[in-house]
């Protein structure tokens, strides 16, 4: 039996080592580039040590019983006690130990939960930059109300400076996640979720929507760019001066379900609509205006909807040539 189990045990242990020793630093969440992600990494590592301890104990016991008490030719009858019913002492022990472990895990968890609601300690003296992160099918729109600029599918932030993301959505429920910078938070229409993030090193980090929002969800990614303070200020200035204005029409087309390339504007959509207050009606009206099918349809009335979809496709092509690149480009 042990022979048969051996390849499996070898596999399991080698994966375990892969998991803990070699692998960790290579993986995004174990390679944090900001204090929030670093806090989470520490918490995760802390839990992993407990889990490895538990696994070693159980695996050792497990290996012992399944090998020692297997039925075999020279099985020692003395080893067999068919009538053991239980042991109050033992059962109390393995009730208490998990309780202790869970308390040990709960305390830092709760602490981190409260910590993450505030800006990082190291830079608490700096006034956080406020950026509204709005998801729309299937793109990310970032508005800097203080700077009066807006970007699409990328966000520039200064390093070592707390940034307060106000996350919301124009339509579907999305989840805002930059694994190397911090944990994720959902964006929902009519709601604003606050998320403090901060980057410690200049660089580009992959940000995404991790919550399923339909066809284009896979490509609903953005570039999280941390710049040096000076470069950031320069970029803000340049954008304010040179970037085009966001018109209502352009914005409406942004809200249609499609993927787009990176864009920059020298004003924000917050003057047009605040999705943190709007429950999604705005986006639905826009879709209706441009003939995007939004009402669920059954077979019989699918004829009209086919026509309307075609109409939208035409619309999209025109729009692609003006404000946006078509989604093809994004698909690599």
């Amino acid at each position: 039996m042990f022979k048969k189990l051996k390849p499996y045990l070898v596999l399991a242990t080698s994966f375990l080592f892969l998991f803990v020793l070699s692998g960790c630093s290579e993986y995004a969440i174990f390679d944090p580039k900001g204090p929030n992600a670093a806090t989470l990494k520490d918490l995760i590592m802390y839990s992993i040590y407990f889990m490895i301890f538990i696994m070693i104990v159980v695996y050792a016991l497990f290996a012992f019983v399944i090998v020692k008490y297997r039925d075999r030719k020279n099985f020692n009858e003395k080893d067999h006690e068919p009538d053991i019913h239980g042991s109050t002492k033992l059962e109390i022990i393995w009730t208490v130990i998990p309780i202790v472990i869970i308390i040990a895990l709960s305390i830092p968890t709760v602490k981190v939960l409260y910590d993450l609601e505030k800006p990082p300690k190291e830079t608490a003296h700096k006034e956080p930059i406020v950026i509204h992160a709005t998801s729309a099918d299937w793109k990310w729109i970032f508005s800097y109300p203080g700077e009066d600029i807006e970007t699409v599918n990328y966000v520039n932030v200064p390093e070592d400076h707390p940034v307060l993301f106000k996350i919301t959505s124009a339509d579907s429920m999305s989840s805002f996640w930059v694994p190397q910078i911090g944990g994720q938070e959902y964006g929902m229409p009519g709601m604003v979720n606050d998320l403090y993030l901060q980057a410690d090193e200049p660089g580009e980090y992959e940000g995404m929507n991790s919550n399923f929002t339909g066809q284009g969800m896979t490509h609903q990614q953005f570039n999280f760019v941390a710049l040096e303070e000076d470069d950031y200020q320069k970029w803000v200035k340049e954008t304010q001066e040179k970037a085009p204005q966001l018109t209502e029409e352009t914005y409406e087309k942004l809200l249609l379900p499609d993927t787009v390339e990176e864009m920059t504007f020298s004003n924000t959509h917050l003057d047009i609509v605040d999705h943190g207050v709007d429950s999604g009606e705005y986006a639905m009206k826009v879709r209706e205006k441009y003939g995007v099918e939004i009402k669920p349809h059954g077979g019989e009335d699918s004829h009209d909807s086919e026509e309307s979809t075609e109409a939208v496709e035409d619309n999209h092509e025109e729009e692609a040539s003006t404000t946006t690149e078509s989604s093809e480009h994004h698909n690599h």
């Binding site: 994966f15 968890t109 999604g280 077979g299």
Partner: protein
Amino acid sequence: MFDFIKDNLILNDPMLLGANISILLSVIGIVFILTYFKKWKWLWTEWLTSVDHKKIGIMYIIAAVIMLFRGGVDALLMRAQLTVPNNEFLTSQHYNEIFTTHGTIMIIFMAMPFVIGLMNVVVPLQIGARDVAFPYLNALSFWSFFFGAILFNISFVFGGSPDAGWTNYAPLAIEGSPGPGINYYLLGLQISGIGTLLTGINFIVTIIKMRAPGMTLMRMPMFTWTALITNFIIVFAFPVLTVTLALMTFDRLFGTHFFTLADGGMPMLWANLFWIWGHPEVYIVILPAFGIFSEIFATFARKTLFGYKSMVISIVTISFLSFLVWVHHFFTMGGTAAVNSVFSITTMAIAVPTGIKIFNWLLTLYKGRIEYTVPMLWSVGFIPTFLIGGVTGVMLGMAAADFQYHNSYFLVAHFHYTLICGTVFACFAGFVFWYPKMFGHKLNERLGKWTFWFFMIGFNVCFLPQFLLGFDGMPRRIYTYGPEDGWTGLNVVSTIGGIGMGIAFMILVYNVYYSFRYAKRETSGDAWGAGRTLEWATTTSVAPFYNFAVTPEVKGLDAFMIMKQEREAGKEEKPEYKPIHMPSNAGTPFVMSVFFFVAGFGLVFKLWWIAILGGIGVLACMALRSLRSHKEDEGYYVSVEEIINTEQKKEA
């Protein structure tokens, strides 16, 4: 009408065209075989109208295995798509439909029917009953599940599959998903959900009221205990699902605004309601699995289950906690630190009773004499692998850490580790273990071991890398990724593992065929020679339709073990037969479920006249049943001669 069919039949995709043709061919094949061998009448009287719990259980299991095949093919298609970066094997839409149906089918139409099937076969036998409390209702449960499943399944060839994920979150499922797909989801689940709810009520009454004399609650076999608790969870959780599905059905069909974006709907409400049902649902499929493992450990370690009392307390605690943790499915949905802390702690608390169970199982093996039969292999293999699922569950339960795991492959790996190692291993274990009880012969042990090793290794190779993918920030439900993401290697490994599990399934199917042809027929009820509970106490391998000629008397835990010891000591008395009362077969559950299907189909496509027709049919069946006089429905008596004949025929 012709246009309607033409518009909805999906023929433009070569894969689906292939599926269409193979479905058509198998239907023609089945009709031909039934006609050629003149089996229509047999099918109707022996199976379609049967109210025998054992036959209903077998039908549940057959349906579940077919669904396992369907869900497994979906899984392999997904793995194929994700193996290499920028793969164009499936389109985004097609991929979305596939993972949605994979999840829904595996949970609702595979895992749950499989455990309910085993419950049906085993529980009445384990408590020494002749059938369940409401045999007619039991048939209705099965058929409404079956036709609900069929309604859901035809979506992929007719009209398009649902594409909003098995969680079907609003507003995506309402405003973001035109076409009939989501309607299929809503009505398929609704119809089969009715069946599940009825099962819940039926089995609670059965276990509470129909235990053999002497079987106190604390003498019940562990599987029966888990079945009882599971059915309590069903009765508390499923009404929530029923209402939730109905509300979204109204949103989609009649323009209400419960979960919509526009006009003040609350999409979040769907997430809450869904998980208030959905989290207990996880325990609906995992608790019976724990029961199955408990039976098998005790049987093949040849020992009494260790810590019976704490096992019972654990399952009751787990079932209670299962209703208090639903928010952990959306820790990142903007809950305050206080809310997240509370749900974080309740979530982690589930690890305590689960840990108790793991240690009790280990101590059951301790000082045992372990025989590694195939069911035992599945059970033994469950412990180390399920532990991985358990510890990662605790990691996910730490709300702050969940900010990094949520919606990632870490989560995907975690729930496959719990659901496959828990439920699927248990289904395979229970299937092999009780196979002689269902079919009168064992499955081939050698082929069974091949299945186990292919599956076990394939499973770990498939899902361990996914933890790492999660650490690397790969979100779930994406249909492709770029080479620059660096996820290729691990995805390739994962796909290889998936293929391993596919091979294991094929060996299992071959094993069923092979054993049917060649396996030795069992002559006694105690096929493994080590049975401890009453299901092994029947005179024949497959229990006669009335189960026990004489109701057994229970003198302690492991009732059959005690009977065997008494028999050895020569204390057995000669049985005294009395006429047995049995329920009559009924055709209405089948017919009524067909009408459910018709009504559901009409609603999916908003073809009101079909829906109304189906609804009238359902009501007519109910009326028919209600109006039948007591006399017509009182069943029949099996005469003493017939009992003696049956019992002696088997003994000879």
